[in-house]
């Protein structure tokens, strides 16, 4: 094992996959420099034809990735901020998502759309969204949201090799998070949740940055309640079985995610638990999510985004 950080793990995945398969290329705004460092330095190794800087044109970036993918390449389109993916809604949610299905399976769209999501930087409503639910909602898109360097590298490599469109959301607030990864090559399969902490009283299903907040809360509460923290790692496919197995053990569950509450990821996971695990529940499912408001900036941000105290409150509500 070696020590690394989240953003370096992402860069390593790109590096290894570009090395392995010459059909892989990166396309996006300022990717040669890399806005978040995830694509930095790759141009020195692979050249500007494979690390393609584009003008400010999200529709063209996503559209070009879709077209090139259909024609046999494996583009990784960096959309920079996840918020900007709305600009290319047709290309992402209609073309990438539906064209394999729509055309009777005759064409496929093997691409990765990666983008930085999430709040914590106080940069407001158009730079802090977690548009997970809209992607999860769209049939035909897979969705990976890693919380650790290990998961980030392994999931991104899997995403690049997948023959379908995969959205890979990395969290801005996790870029510097340290962690260990193997020296040798590895992949993290889609649809396999990871039990980040074992516990017996309450299950917390947490995604992305919420995993870290939940782990901290679990540690803080350890003398009072034993909290199990499960990270689904991919939301489509979603490993509901691992979640239900944990609920069977604890009987109590909190779902924590940073997308808005209404029709968000927490609603979907909570409802699936109702459908498949109702008999195991000893208390109503609690959810922790962003308020149903745009993400405010500055001092107001913390009143919108889910906070550790909200996770504590939810755990206490189900545990008693």
């Amino acid at each position: 094992m070696k020590q690394t950080i989240y953003l370096m793990a992402i860069r390593e995945a790109l590096d290894e996959e570009m090395e392995r398969d010459e059909k892989v290329f990166i396309i996006g705004e300022n990717v040669q420099q890399g806005t978040f460092g995830t694509t930095s330095t790759l141009v020195q190794k692979f050249g500007p034809e494979r690390v393609m800087d584009t003008p400010l044109a999200e529709t063209a970036v996503a559209g070009a990735a879709v077209g090139a993918a259909m024609a046999g390449f494996r583009p990784v389109a960096d959309m920079m901020f996840a918020d900007f993916m709305y600009i290319a809604g047709d290309e992402i949610m209609i073309k990438a998502a539906k064209w394999h299905f729509l055309h009777g399976g005759k064409v496929s769209v093997p691409l990765v759309l990666m983008a930085a999501m999430g709040g914590g930087m106080k940069i407001g409503a158009e730079h802090s969204m977690c548009p997970e639910s809209i992607i999860m909602h769209t049939a035909g898109l897979k969705l990976a949201i890693p919380s650790t360097p290990y998961d980030a590298k392994g999931l991104l490599k899997t995403a690049i090799r997948d023959n379908n469109p995969v959205v890979f959301f990395y969290h801005k607030g996790l870029l510097g998070v340290p962690g260990e990864i193997p020296e040798e090559e590895y992949l993290v399969p889609f649809g396999q949740a990871d039990v980040k902490r074992e516990g017996s009283d309450v299950t917390v299903v947490a995604t992305s940055r919420m995993v870290h907040l939940s782990l901290a809360v679990a540690e803080e509460l350890k003398d009072k309640v034993s909290v199990e923290v499960i990270d689904p790692r991919t939301l489509e496919p979603l490993d509901i079985d691992t979640i239900i197995a944990s609920v069977k053990k604890t009987g109590r569950v909190v779902v924590a995610d940073e997308d808005n509450r209404r029709c968000g990821v927490t609603s979907e996971i909570g409802m699936q638990i109702m459908e498949k695990g109702f008999d195991y529940l000893d208390a109503p499912v609690q959810r922790v999510a962003a308020a149903d408001l745009p993400i405010a900036s500055g001092f107001m941000e913390e009143h919108i985004l889910p906070q550790p105290k909200d996770i504590v409150a939810a755990i206490e509500a189900v545990a008693t």
């Binding site: 063209a60 047709d90 394999h100 729509l102 055309h103 399976g105």
Partner: protein
């Protein structure tokens, strides 16, 4: 390019087949066999055929939504059976009966069709980018309507295609109408080809009723693209004979479209005028014309029977189609 006799006859034959398949699709709709809707392409056969007939098999083509791409598809070598069977919702359709009216045949370079107007631009950009990366001198021919030209997607894609010198031929089918909206109220200039200058690419206007004029302009643009000199824009002036879609009112805003204008254009019908020219030049005899018509009629009868006889898809295809293996 000086065309040989058989090439001229091929162009004529393709246009005849295009018109007849269009008529057959309308018939299917009227009989309730075509399940979705249909946007007839009558009046733009010369553009479809002239633009596509001389491409290489491995060139990419995006046909216009008008006529649901019939002329473009037939000219690229597609099978009319799969085209109509898809409209019939049958398992033998081009997209297994799940698309209703789209077509895909990767082996012919027809990678897909779209329902959102204007999405042609960014996706074609990607196909053009792939063509350039493949380094096999492939070209991408991408057709859009005057209505589509109003989308902002055009700017991003035109600009990048030119900056990256992609082998793309952008073709505008300017029939003057976008559903009920006349182009004169949607665009400030006369010619859409004028846009090309802003992207530093050649832009030409051709008579879209003249298959040879279309063919010549498109071939020049194709040659430029193959040589690595980048994209071009060819605007063809055409007309839409019928209403926007079968059964919808034929209006400009909310007033009936001028019958006289349509009749005047019909006097220059692309199929009839090309036939007259070929007869006059002795390239074609009345007997040849009869034979071409009869063969096309036989083909249509076969297509219709095939579609009627084909089974509907099994519902199990749905789950299987969501993701590629």
């Amino acid at each position: 390019m000086e065309l040989k006799k058989e090439q001229l006859i091929n162009l004529y034959t393709l246009m005849v087949r295009t018109r007849k398949l269009d008529e057959l699709t309308i018939k299917g709709l009227q009989e309730g066999k075509v399940l979705a809707f249909y946007h007839s392409g009558q009046g733009s056969e010369a553009l479809a055929v002239g633009a596509i007939a001389f491409l290489r098999p491995d060139d990419y083509a995006w046909g216009h939504h008008r006529g649901h791409g019939i002329g473009y598809l037939l000219a690229k070598g597609a099978d009319g059976k799969e085209f109509l069977a898809e409209h019939y919702g049958k398992a033998t359709g081009s997209c297994l009966g799940v698309s209703g009216f789209h077509y895909a045949d990767p082996e012919l370079g027809v990678l897909g069709a779209a329902g959102t107007i204007g999405s042609v631009f960014p996706i074609s950009l990607g196909w053009g980018l792939a063509a350039k990366k493949n380094k096999r001198q492939q070209v991408m021919v991408s057709v859009f309507g005057d209505g589509g030209s109003n989308r902002g997607t055009l700017h991003e894609a035109f600009n990048l295609s030119s900056v990256w010198k992609l082998p793309i031929v952008w073709i505008c089918d300017n029939n003057g109408m976008a559903q009920f909206m006349p182009i004169k109220d949607a665009y400030a200039r006369e010619d859409i080809a004028d846009l090309a200058a802003g992207y530093d690419m050649p832009g030409v206007v051709v008579d879209g009723m003249d298959v040879l004029a279309v063919q010549e302009a498109v071939q020049a643009a194709v040659a430029r693209a193959r040589a690595g000199d980048g994209p071009s824009l060819v605007e063809a002036k055409t007309i839409r004979y019928r209403s926007h879609s079968e059964g919808s009112p034929d209006v400009v805003h909310n007033q009936p479209r001028s019958e006289e204008k349509i009749e005047a254009w019909k006097k220059r019908d692309p199929i009839e005028s090309f036939k007259a020219k070929l007869l006059e030049q002795g390239m074609l005899t009345e007997a040849d014309v009869d034979k071409i018509n009869q063969e096309a009629d036989a083909e249509m009868a076969e297509i219709e029977k095939f579609c009627t006889d084909s089974p509907p898809p099994d519902v199990s295809v749905l789950e299987k189609l969501l993701y590629a293996e």
